[in-house]
């Protein structure tokens, strides 16, 4: 109990993220209305018992859409972070473990990717692949990889790097085994913290892309897309924009707090710094 109080970030963050997961799982139970059912004769309905957050331009229940929208945010965070972390960590660990030209090449490639501001790279990727949810996830994953690659590589280096692996190989261990059995567990902490910390920004970027019209296709109740719709009515009706934004702020805040809390827990002194 004391631990929870001592780490309010972790607690609060955990609660918010937990709420996000619950909303995603139990949306059909929590909301009687369907997020897709339109009622064109009653658009922009005010707040009421039946529609706690009102209705949007098509008469759809905003509360239901906000709840179902949690699924998209969770999917975005989970898929992008999962893929980027896995790919980036493997790449970075391999680079750190092998050293030499491979390390130089990977880091140089990561530097190139780093030079692109995230959303610009995502826009380029989406221009290439076309709009849509899956393409958006791929685009965001792409520009998230360098962070993990660099982090994992630095951790691998600081945990002994190529010399350590050479020595282990000399006594008969395989490089892969060294990587996974020895380096990875020690590197896990900072990497997990990074995951939680970047989940929030992934959700924000995905929402931004949907807001710009390049992400999910209608009628998906994704928060960014909802705000994009609502934006046409600023000055007339606030609800279609207000509530998805509030939900998104809480979700991102939750992940950011979670990251903070995990950092205090797992990695209090920051990733071991090396000259890259």
């Amino acid at each position: 109990m004391g631990g929870l109080v001592r780490n309010p970030s972790l607690t609060l963050g955990g609660l918010l993220v937990g709420a996000l997961v619950l909303a995603s799982l139990f949306a059909p139970v929590l909301s009687a209305a369907s997020p897709l059912a339109q009622d064109l004769h009653h658009p922009f309905g005010g707040l009421s018992a039946r529609h706690p957050f009102g209705t949007d331009a098509f008469g759809r229940d905003i509360a239901a859409r906000v709840l179902y929208g949690a699924r998209y945010s969770l999917l975005e965070a989970g898929a992008c972070i999962g893929m980027a972390c896995t790919a980036g960590t493997l790449l970075g660990l391999a680079a750190g473990a092998r050293g030499g030209w491979f390390d130089q090449a990977v880091m140089w490639a990561m530097d190139i990717l780093f030079a692109f501001p995230g959303i610009v790279l995502a826009l380029l990727a989406l221009a290439l692949l076309g709009p849509g949810l899956v393409n958006m996830l791929l685009a965001i994953t792409l520009f998230s990889i360098p962070v993990y690659a660099r982090l994992a590589r630095n951790l691998a280096m600081s945990l002994g790097g190529a010399l350590y692996v050479e020595a282990a190989v000399a006594i008969g261990a395989s490089p892969a085994r060294v990587m996974f059995a020895h380096i990875l567990p020690n590197a896990a902490g900072p990497i997990i913290v990074q995951c939680a910390a970047s989940a929030g920004s992934v959700i924000l970027t995905a929402a931004s892309l949907s807001f710009l019209g390049l992400g999910v296709a209608p009628p998906a109740p994704e928060w960014g897309a909802m705000m994009s719709d609502g934006r046409n009515y600023i000055g007339a009706y606030l609800a279609p924009t207000l509530f998805p934004g509030l939900a998104m702020t809480l979700a991102v805040l939750g992940f950011n707090l979670l990251g903070e809390g995990l950092r205090q827990l797992l990695d209090p002194f920051g990733p071991i710094r090396t000259r890259s």
Partner: protein, 306 residues
């Protein structure tokens, strides 16, 4: 100056070249036929072929890239498919707006974030620090376009203190700059606080305190110079975030900058513009990082020795 900086400077053209090649290839892979888009939907096959030849699209990719570099060296970055104006003109007319917005937002973020972070680090755990931590993490979590929209509703529609969108006058920059500055402000504030706390923990600071030096002297003569390195790093690193942020903010506020130009270009499949704006964005980030590194080298005696 010293080997480190020299190496970085020499690497810059290489990075630039690599990025331009990457962008060039990526843009060539975009779906659709640019010649058909330029010629228009009612053009005949011969007209489309003529545009193909005129743009050199039938050449091998390598030759096209070299031609592109040659043109770029002369200042010709192609012609926008949508507006039919030279891309350089489009950039020239849109870039100042983005620079103005970026600088305004950045100024706000640094101007409020750095002092706030320093003050918070001065009294860790105390009320100001707690409030600052909460405020910064909230600022990081707010979607900038949502903040923009809410600010519009409050300040432009309800209170009518500020204009709604566009770039007609000086007061038009206030809302977009505010919206754009929030997340970088939070980030810069938190990083500054962390860096300051780290420095204040150092032995020489404790020695200075033990010696009975006034807090002001401690900060100004000992802590700040040491903090300048990480702060410059932080400030430099976040420029990329500000540039990225302008893309969305400009769309929200119909601010006529290159961010909006890029988004529109992606929607219209305007390849020359996509290419040029991406290059500009990347060059800015690289230049900013370079400038930050040079500033660090200048400020930090440890780095000077290479």
């Amino acid at each position: 100056m010293n080997g480190y900086i020299l190496r970085k400077l020499l690497a810059f053209p290489a990075v630039l070249l690599a990025v331009s090649l990457l962008t060039f290839l990526a843009v060539r892979m975009l779906p659709g036929d640019p010649a058909r888009l330029i010629a228009g939907p009612e053009a005949s096959a011969e007209a489309v072929a003529a545009v193909h030849a005129r743009l050199g699209l039938d050449q091998p990719v390598g030759a096209q890239y070299l031609a592109f570099l040659a043109h770029a060296a002369e200042g010709d970055l192609g012609t926008s498919i949508e507006s039919r104006r030279p891309v350089v003109d489009e950039l020239a007319s849109h870039l100042p707006y983005t620079l103005a917005l970026g600088l305004a937002a950045y100024g706000l973020a640094v101007g409020l974030g750095v002092p706030g972070g320093i003050l918070a680090a001065a009294a860790p755990g105390k009320p100001w620090d707690r409030a600052f931590s909460a405020a910064t993490i909230l600022a990081l979590s707010l979607p900038s376009f949502w903040v923009g929209l809410m600010a519009m509703e409050l300040f432009a529609v309800r209170l009518r203190w500020l204009p709604l969108m566009g770039a007609g006058s000086a007061s038009h920059i206030v809302l977009p700059a505010l919206a754009l500055s929030l997340a970088p402000m939070g980030l810069i504030g938190r990083m500054t606080r962390a860096a300051m706390i780290e420095i204040l923990r150092q032995n020489y600071i404790r020695t200075a305190r033990a010696k009975g030096l006034e807090p002001f002297a401690i900060y100004v003569r000992h802590a700040l110079p040491a903090a300048s390195t990480p702060i410059v790093t932080i400030v430099g690193l976040n420029l990329g975030a500000v540039i990225a942020g302008t893309v969305v903010t400009e769309s929200v506020f119909s601010w006529p900058g290159v961010g909006r130009l890029l988004v529109d270009a992606v929607k219209y499949r305007d390849y020359p513009v996509i290419q040029a704006v991406t290059l500009v964005a990347v060059v800015s980030v690289v230049l900013a990082n370079l400038a930050a590194e040079m500033a660090i080298a200048f400020l930090d005696p440890r780095m000077r020795r290479g």
